[in-house]
């Protein structure tokens, strides 16, 4: 697994959206560390800020609404947030790259797959001749186990299946040997068997290249299958993080607990799956205390008054809950 050499260190990241209706604190003080060769899962429901977090890491948040206000994103010793756009652009795809949610929307419908793949290589290695670019493109396609890669180059995206398209996107993402790969719900738009195969493929690529992966998902099943560590996001903040096994066995945050309980399970028969009462808070002017407090069974007076910072409860396991000892 990981050798615990940090590749990406995010500290106090804050990205807010400025809209007509007010300021949305989409990412509100997020810190985590990603190590070489590991997969970190970021779990949360829709609107928890996980996609905005991913876009903040590559500095492609929607303009002009979103602004990164504070924090640092240090990749191999360089704080990405302090770079000029020109230098940042050179790192996109080559040092840090990303796979988007829907493969059907991710590829440009009017250019061939070969063209779009070659472009990703050429932009970072302009000195390569056409034949060398082609070789690298084919190499990338082989890495994602694409059958008959030569034949795919002249295909247009509409001629391929969803799973094939997502593999093309994967090939594109790793074509310049990035250190960090962010996958934003990469399997949500795929059917279940294709999902499994894709997650396994990411694992294999990781073993071959040592790339560190951030896997964003709303599905604890995906986490169990593909991640080493997991960070749970709620209302713009990380509320708990730690090794996957540890979190599954001993969740120390009521929200994590509730998420785990609301999964369908094979070994327990239930008439109805439990669900979390209420809905996530508005991220415009959130309350000062714990943001989960209004929905929490354990909420006490302190919880609504003061925000609990992340504290270590076991080696590598942190939670942001005043009453974590009572969560079981």
């Amino acid at each position: 697994m990981s050798t615990m050499e940090p590749v990406l260190t995010v500290d106090g990241l804050r990205t807010h959206l400025f809209t007509r209706w007010g300021t949305t604190r989409a990412v509100d003080g997020v810190s985590f560390t990603l190590h070489r060769g590991e997969t970190l899962g970021i779990v949360g429901e829709s609107g928890s800020g996980k996609s905005m977090l991913a876009l903040s890491l590559v500095r492609l948040t929607p303009e002009p609404a979103a602004r990164i206000l504070a924090g640092s994103v240090v990749l191999d010793g360089t704080d990405l947030l302090t770079l000029s756009e020109k230098r940042m652009r050179k790192l996109r795809g080559s040092a840090i790259s990303m796979i988007l949610q829907d493969p059907h929307q991710s590829l440009n419908p009017v250019f061939t797959v070969g063209n779009q793949l070659a472009e990703a290589v050429h932009v970072h290695r302009p000195e390569l001749a056409a034949a060398a670019v082609r070789e690298r493109v084919l190499d990338g396609l082989r890495k994602v186990r694409m059958p008959a890669p030569e034949r795919r180059l002249r295909d247009y995206p509409h001629e391929l299946s969803g799973g094939m398209k997502q593999r093309i996107v994967g090939a594109m993402a790793i074509s310049a040997d990035p250190r960090v790969l962010i996958a934003d719900e990469p399997t949500t738009a795929l059917d279940v068997t294709t999902q499994q195969r894709y997650l396994r493929l990411l694992r294999e690529i990781q073993r071959e290249t040592g790339v560190a992966i951030i896997l964003i998902t709303h599905d604890f099943g995906v986490v169990a299958e593909a991640c080493d560590r997991v960070a749970v996001m709620y209302a713009g903040r990380i509320v708990e993080q730690g090794p996957v096994r540890e979190i599954f066995d001993r969740p120390r945050h009521p929200y994590t607990r509730a998420l785990l309980d609301s999964r369908p399970r094979r070994d327990v028969r239930l008439d109805r799956l439990p669900s979390i009462e209420g809905s996530p808070p508005s991220l415009v002017d959130p309350p000062p205390g714990c943001r989960f407090a209004p929905r929490c069974r354990l909420a006490a007076e302190r919880c609504t008054a003061e925000y609990p910072e992340l504290t270590a409860v076991a080696p590598g396991h942190e939670t942001a809950c005043w009453r974590w000892e009572e969560v079981s």
């Binding site: 492609l60 440009n108 310049a176």
Partner: protein, 311 residues
Amino acid sequence: MGRYVLLNVIRGILTLLAISVIVFFLARLTGDPIDVLGPENMAPIDEQALRDKWGLNGSLVEQYFAFLGNAVRGDFGPSFKYPDESATSVIADRIPRSLQLGLAGVLLTVLIGIPLGVLAAARRGSWYDRVAKGIALFGQSVPEFWLAIMLVWVFAVQLGVVRTSGRAGWSSIVLPSIVMAVFGIAALLRLFRSSMLDTLGSEYVKLARLKGLPRSRVVWKHALKPAASGPLTFFATIAVRLLTGATVVEIVFAWPGAGLLAYEAANARDFPVVQALAMITSTAIVVMNLLVDILYAYLDPRVRLGQKVMA
């Protein structure tokens, strides 16, 4: 692809046949041309000579097929107004002049309208975008004849930098081509702005940026090409209108092109010339649409084989 082109060609020919029927019978709706154009109390022998000359013998259907047969060979009969010339040769003089003016108009439309629209979308909400929207509103609402007269008044009468009208020297093409282009510029600006906003917000544009491409490359390649097929249809309409002679502009600037000729011929009830112009204009539209269909297939590979399109 060959099949796709062939189908479109056949459709174009059928369209032209339908138009020829309309053109022929519309002209006949005003009655027998002899009654309208021949001298009163004409001797029967003179009338017969005139009928032979203008191809007015036999039933209406026979006349139509005679008209069609001749038209295919480019013969629309002698002009009524200039009896010594054929309608085709009258037009042949004028077409290149209209083409010249129309081409200048089309070039201005494309070279100004598309970049303005692309930049307006790329800098959405900026002062530039607001100015562009103003230009679009002005261009689509200003009447051509008014703009033409205003430009003549300012640049020819007050400043004296160009001639008021006619066709002499390169500078005489400037004002009419600007007037012709204004509407198209405004239309293309708006169409490209809105289709570019769609593509700029797409996931594939986001992915192109994620690959590390410069923003300009993403805008002009990844967003522009898929955005172009929508406005293309409209562009074809504008281009044909400009290339086949813009009547109002040619009248105001006394530009001796096909548009001015159409106006003169209609006034003089010169049916062969009107019919010939109508057929040539229609052919131009059909050919243009064919080109657009082929261009579509180039721009969007999903169009190439109708049956193979997947969602």
